[in-house]
């Protein structure tokens, strides 16, 4: 099993799915000869041609709206939104159209599109190249939302998303592209959309995270372990549909829940996790479900000390965990 970077795993998934099924097309800004601003689609234009790897006009609603039409007429589009920060013009197409196509037509039409969305901070991207957008879309019935944290999941979840009959928002963390390496099973490696994964077993508290924050949570668990605190780290990885059972089973073992994301705290995805754990797992709890999140300012500020202040990291997670265990 070769070791790969997160970015390479995504590219392999795209390549394999395009080679497997000629209905799969990629469209987005700079995805063609340039291979994307991050290089994710590098080589695909040469391999599959400009009709299947389209450089689109600089218009996000167009990218998603055209994908919906392509899907209605027999293609399997994998649109790329260059940065999550620029997805907002496509909100209407995602929420009013893609998410509702199946429900509003009583199953007459579906919308098999996978929207790849590079997201997240810690990359000196400031307010408009660092956002996390999962809370907006995980709120919407009809959409599926995934956020892989490892190269193997990046590949397996993307392949599963492309084969899924419904619209999937695939959130890939920009900082993970070249940060993490890991073993990636070659060939038809699929990770089903839905199940969460326990990355590290523990007895003293459960840490729930996804994307880059999962990597930070693993480092925090390592720090805590040296102090004799054993944290269980659960990779949520599919935000919708949510694997409530795995979350509750973990809390039943550890009796404490620490929820981590880099998106703003207020109304963030962690609020849903906390509410679900409180409502359905109250009897297991020895302490309040607790969140470690990005602060409630309108964006990640640019200058290094400001960005560092914003970003959740292993230290911040570990200190919240210490307080929770001491509760």
């Amino acid at each position: 099993m070769p070791e790969q970077r997160y970015l390479e795993a995504i590219r392999d998934a795209l390549y394999e799915e395009m080679a497997r099924d000629e209905r799969v097309v990629i469209l987005g800004e700079d995805v063609g000869p340039k291979g994307g601003v991050f290089g994710v689609t590098e080589g695909l234009y040469a391999a599959f041609g400009e009709a299947r790897v389209l450089d689109t006009p600089l218009a996000e609603s167009c990218i998603v709206g055209v994908s919906i039409g392509m899907a209605a007429n027999g293609l399997i589009p994998v649109p790329e939104i260059q940065f999550a920060d620029f997805i907002h013009p496509a909100f209407d197409q995602l929420v009013s159209e893609a998410a509702r196509m199946r429900y509003r037509s009583n199953n007459d039409f579906g919308c098999p599109i996978t929207v790849r969305v590079p997201y997240g901070g810690g990359v000196h991207g400031a307010l408009y190249h660092s956002q996390s957008v999962e809370a907006f879309y995980a709120h919407v019935p009809g959409l599926k939302v995934v956020a892989p944290s490892t190269p193997a999941d990046a590949k397996g979840l993307l392949k599963a998303a492309i084969r899924d009959p419904d619209p999937v928002l695939y959130l890939e963390h920009k900082k993970l592209y070249r940060l993490v390496r890991g073993d990636v099973p070659q060939g038809d490696h699929l990770v089903p959309i839905g199940p969460a994964e326990i990355r590290r077993p523990g007895r003293d508290l459960s840490i729930f995270a996804y994307g880059l924050m999962l990597q930070e949570a693993l480092q925090a668990a390592e720090l805590l372990s040296r102090e004799g605190v054993e944290a269980e780290v659960v990779d949520v990885r599919t935000l919708r549909p949510l694997d409530t059972a795995t979350l509750l089973e973990s809390v039943a073992r550890t009796n404490r829940a620490l929820i981590v994301h880099e998106d703003n705290r207020f109304g963030g995805f962690g609020a849903e996790l906390a509410a679900t754990i409180a409502e359905e797992g109250f009897r297991f709890l020895d302490a309040p479900p607790t969140r470690v999140c990005g602060p409630d300012v309108p964006g990640v500020p640019y200058s290094p000390p400001l960005e560092e202040w914003f970003m959740v990291n292993a230290e911040k997670i570990a200190s919240a965990a210490r307080r929770l265990v001491a509760y």
Binding site: A59, S61, G65, N107, F109
Partner: protein
């Protein structure tokens, strides 16, 4: 792409059945659909006024634009991406009147949505009519995507999408025409310009005299046609379909139509339209205009007209009865099809 691609296409004002190669049977078929659409529409209002339906959004005045355009496509092979006034269009595309009434009454067997959507949101995969939403102009991007897929897959399909002139102010309209122009897609953007977006007149919607002049900005053909004359629409639409099939790209087809009713059953147009304006619209009624033309051409005798109208009445009555007798949806089904359901689930 050269500047010559950005072109205004002159509408043909003088069209005759002979110049279009239309025989008596086709002319009478067009009359049937114009009249049927009007009768279905009038029945929708009757159902609303008798308290059986909550809402009506009307096609009255738009029939010439829709029948003329839909008559020019291959109704089996080509796509329709409709909007809320597409009653005549979906009838020509193959939906029978009962399916429109089933939606009007929110019935479980409504093929457009199973009673989930408000009236006017047509869709039907078997007839290649894409499901519709309420935000305006979003569908123009779907039409461009359908046309791109048709081109990539080499299916030879053409896609027609309909919208009002108000929807041309939305960003999605620009994005769709831009994309379709770049890729020279086989799509027709049928703008049914009735002069009002609910209450807002065209003069407050755009600074240009006609939507079609914007086609130049997208490198596509643009044409404005008088929608009171179904054959003029047909002629322009046929040209557009031929261009699309030849690989010459999209057409912005603007059809000037009268709005013969209020925006919807929730609107009172007397608040913003003068009595003279409303009366002038009546004189532009495409159904009345075509009836008079057919009569003048000796195609439609009074006897034949009565015969067709009586047949339509019977069909509309029978369809209404069927729809009224159909079951309402069971709330237990309301959680289905948020996502695809796998076998056995």
């Amino acid at each position: 792409m050269s500047a010559k691609d950005a072109r205004a296409v002159r509408a043909r004002d003088e069209v005759t059945p002979a110049s279009l190669g239309l025989g008596e049977a086709q002319l009478l078929d067009m009359y049937y659909y114009l009249r049927l659409a009007r009768a279905v529409d009038e029945r929708m209002w009757a159902l609303q006024r008798s308290g059986k339906a909550a809402f009506v959004i009307s096609c009255q005045g738009h029939e010439g634009a829709q029948v003329g355009t839909l008559y020019a496509i291959d109704r089996e092979k080509d796509w329709l991406v409709p909007f809320y006034r597409s009653i005549a269009a979906v009838l020509v595309k193959g939906m029978p009147p009962v399916e429109i009434f089933l939606m009007q009454l929110g019935k479980a067997t409504d093929p457009s949505s199973g009673g989930r959507q408000m009236p006017g949101h047509y869709g039907h995969s078997r007839h290649k009519i894409l499901s519709t939403s309420s935000p305006v102009a979003t569908q123009t991007l779907h039409a461009a995507g359908i046309a791109y897929a048709a081109k990539l897959r080499g299916t030879g399909e053409v896609c027609v999408t309909e919208l009002g002139e108000g929807a041309t102010s939305e960003g999605d309209f620009h994005e769709a025409l831009n994309f379709a122009g770049i890729h020279r897609l086989p799509v027709i953007f049928l703008v049914e310009n009735n002069g009002y977006a609910i209450s807002v007149p065209q003069s407050k919607q755009m600074a240009v005299p006609a939507v079609a002049v914007r086609a130049a900005g997208y490198g596509m053909a643009g044409v404005t046609v008088d929608g009171s004359h179904v054959l003029r629409v047909y002629a322009a639409a046929r040209d557009a379909v031929e261009r699309a099939r030849r690989g010459e790209g999209p057409t912005l087809l603007e059809v000037m139509v009268p709005r013969l009713t209020a925006h919807s059953s929730d609107d009172r147009q007397e608040k913003y339209r003068s009595p003279e304006d409303i009366a002038r619209s009546r004189e532009r009624d495409p159904v009345a205009v075509f009836t008079a033309e057919l009569s003048a051409w000796g195609v439609l005798s009074e006897e034949r007209r009565q015969e067709i109208d009586a047949r339509i009445r019977r069909e509309v009555d029978a369809a209404t009865e069927l729809a009224e007798a159909a079951p309402l949806p069971d709330p237990a089904t309301a959680t289905r099809y948020v996502y695809a359901e796998g076998p056995g689930s």
